[in-house]
């Protein structure tokens, strides 16, 4: 009986209450911050929304990755991935609300600025408010449609009906999604983040944001698994071998992130074109430098050195600390991507993350967790009928 209980995730009223309270604090902080500084608030908003939409998207991304690579070890915690995907509709609403901050964040949304800038005029056909909003709708329609289909098929695998045909169908849909994901996530990164500095361009930028998505999603999954296990779920299903795999992913992809970070820097440094170097010049000076270098150390050097030994990848406590570090680190990474230009434009000299940013971020995190936990509850936490489940439970390395 006890075993049966642990297989269904129960969301206590207390947990919901805490999440709602945090969300309410976030909303209050958002309003207070708005009265204090509009520009800062919209920066904070965009950082959080992009971060959480990426996490939601990562859920579907990993589900299709699992299906395409026929990975076994990810299967026991598939439900977490499915639950993460359920954030996308909320993300859609949040992204549409960005419309009200569009003039604060995006220089190109002011027709007056566009008219007097020869370079920006060439981009006017793409960078204009109506098309920008249309693209948001198209992106989210694609993401939500595919995530719904993939999650539905993934759940169908567990029901034991449909048989092998479901696997084939799931992997076909996943293959299509993978291609579309690559394209749409690039568009999203270019639109929502890169166009904050409309003169600047970097073709590797989408890969850079994607590497951030990968690392932060793995960190989120690791933390959720450790927390859920401490609450008594996944007993005897997830062991140090699964954590080892997650740790390897975290180690590998934080290095991948650093690799892309450096590639972007190297090419811009080499070619020395003013439109490109302005991005780094802004971050080397104007008080941003410490956050800029700190970002690199935080997101790569520390995880790289800490996760190098095998024993630390198999140690829950070490993984918990490193995952927390990476989750905060990639928030800072996005902050350093988005904020400098807007701050420079509005002549905000204090670059430090303001007192409002933390409760706002916590409020958004609470919203995300609330959506994810509500999607996770009452469902069978362990996909026992999944064809890869047995293989995953007996994972050994």
């Amino acid at each position: 009986m006890n075993k049966q209980q642990n297989e269904v995730f129960e969301l206590s009223n207390k947990m919901q209450g805490i999440a709602l309270a945090l969300f309410a604090i976030g909303v209050i902080a958002f309003v207070a911050s708005f009265l204090h500084s509009e520009a800062r608030t919209w920066v904070s908003y965009l950082v959080n929304v992009f971060y959480l939409v990426s996490l939601g998207l990562a859920g579907t991304f990993f589900l299709s990755l699992q299906s395409l690579a026929k990975t076994g070890w990810m299967v026991p915690f598939k439900r977490i991935l499915e639950a993460m995907s359920s954030f996308l509709p909320v993300g859609f609403v949040l992204m549409i609300l960005l419309f009200f901050g569009i003039h604060t964040i995006y220089e190109w949304s002011h027709p007056g600025i566009m008219e007097h800038d020869a370079l920006l005029q060439k981009k006017a056909a793409y960078l204009n408010t109506p098309f920008f909003m249309v693209r948001i709708v198209i992106l989210f329609v694609i993401w939500i449609t595919f995530s719904k289909i993939i999650v539905k098929l993934s759940r169908k695998l567990d029901s034991g009906t449909g048989g092998a045909a479901v696997i084939v169908k799931l992997s076909r849909i996943s293959a299509i999604f993978m291609v579309l994901f690559g394209l749409t996530y690039s568009v999203a990164s270019f639109d929502w983040i890169m166009s904050v500095e409309p003169h600047w361009f970097s073709t590797i930028f989408a890969l850079y944001t994607f590497s951030g998505l990968f690392v932060s999603a793995i960190a989120f999954i690791t933390i959720s698994l450790i927390v859920l296990q401490s609450w008594g779920y996944f007993k005897g299903v997830i062991n140090e071998n699964h954590y080892h795999d997650l740790g390897k992913f975290m180690f590998g992809f934080s290095t991948f992130w650093a690799y892309i970070w450096f590639s972007q820097y190297l090419l811009i440094w080499y070619s020395n074109i003013p439109e490109e170097t302005e991005y780094f010049l802004l971050r080397f000076h104007h008080d941003w430098s410490w956050l800029f270098y700190f970002n690199f150390a935080f997101n790569w050097l520390v995880p790289f050195l800490v996760l190098m030994p095998r024993s630390s990848k198999r140690n829950k406590r070490v993984l918990l600390v490193v995952s927390g570090l990476l989750l905060v680190g990639h928030w800072i990474d996005l902050y350093v991507m988005i904020a400098p230009k807007i701050f420079a434009h509005f002549k905000i000299h204090s670059v430090a993350i303001s007192l409002y940013d933390i409760p706002i971020a916590l409020g958004f995190a609470a919203l995300f967790l609330l959506v994810v936990m509500r999607a996770l509850r009452n469902s069978n936490l362990l996909p026992k009928q999944d064809p890869y489940y047995q293989e995953a439970v007996h994972l050994h390395q």
Partner: protein
């Protein structure tokens, strides 16, 4: 005592793992097990320690990294300084790709070399097999009789037969 080793042949890896667990639980040390493919769980039963090879890899990588930086600094800033693209002589961003590649190259080559050295392998080495069938479809467990002083030999043999050993022989090695 001329025959100092017991050689047990298994047809199935599950029988093998079960037998190995039984043998270990009776405090008999297994000398070695030969299998045609990796069988999970045997490492722990054989009490095989983790390989120290990763430390060699790390040191070799570190050595490659330092060598690459040293060589580039020496060659482009000291021995033959040329201005390239208006950059300073000591341009670390430009050195990084080469440094990275040399680190990987040193780490990989030294690891392979060290593995061959420690495993006493070299090109043209004569094949030294306990039984040619372990490269095909059979599994061989080798037990040193000396490590089983507290248990009678017959007891071990019976245990092996009970757990599905298809053939038990003894040999002087």
């Amino acid at each position: 005592m001329s025959n100092n080793y017991i050689l047990a042949m298994f047809d199935d890896e599950e029988d093998l793992v079960r037998a190995a667990k039984q043998i270990v639980s009776h405090e008999v040390l297994i000398h070695d097990i030969y299998t045609p493919f990796p069988v999970h769980g045997l490492d722990d039963l054989l009490l095989i320690k983790r390989s120290r090879l990763p430390y060699i890899t790390f040191l070799a990588g570190l050595f490659g990294l330092l060598m690459a930086i040293a060589f580039q600094v020496w060659s482009s800033a000291s021995a033959w300084p040329i201005i390239v693209g208006g950059k300073p002589h000591n341009s670390f961003p430009a050195f990084m790709p080469v440094t990275f590649e040399l680190m990987v190259l040193f780490a990989a080559l030294v690891t392979v070399g060290m593995f061959f050295f420690r495993a006493k392998l070299f090109p043209g080495k004569q094949v030294d097999l306990i039984d040619p069938r372990v490269t095909d479809n059979k599994f061989m467990m080798v037990i040193n009789k000396c490590s089983a002083v507290t248990k009678k030999e017959e007891f071990i043999q019976e245990l092996l037969t009970q757990n599905g050993a298809s053939e038990i022989t003894e040999r002087e090695i």
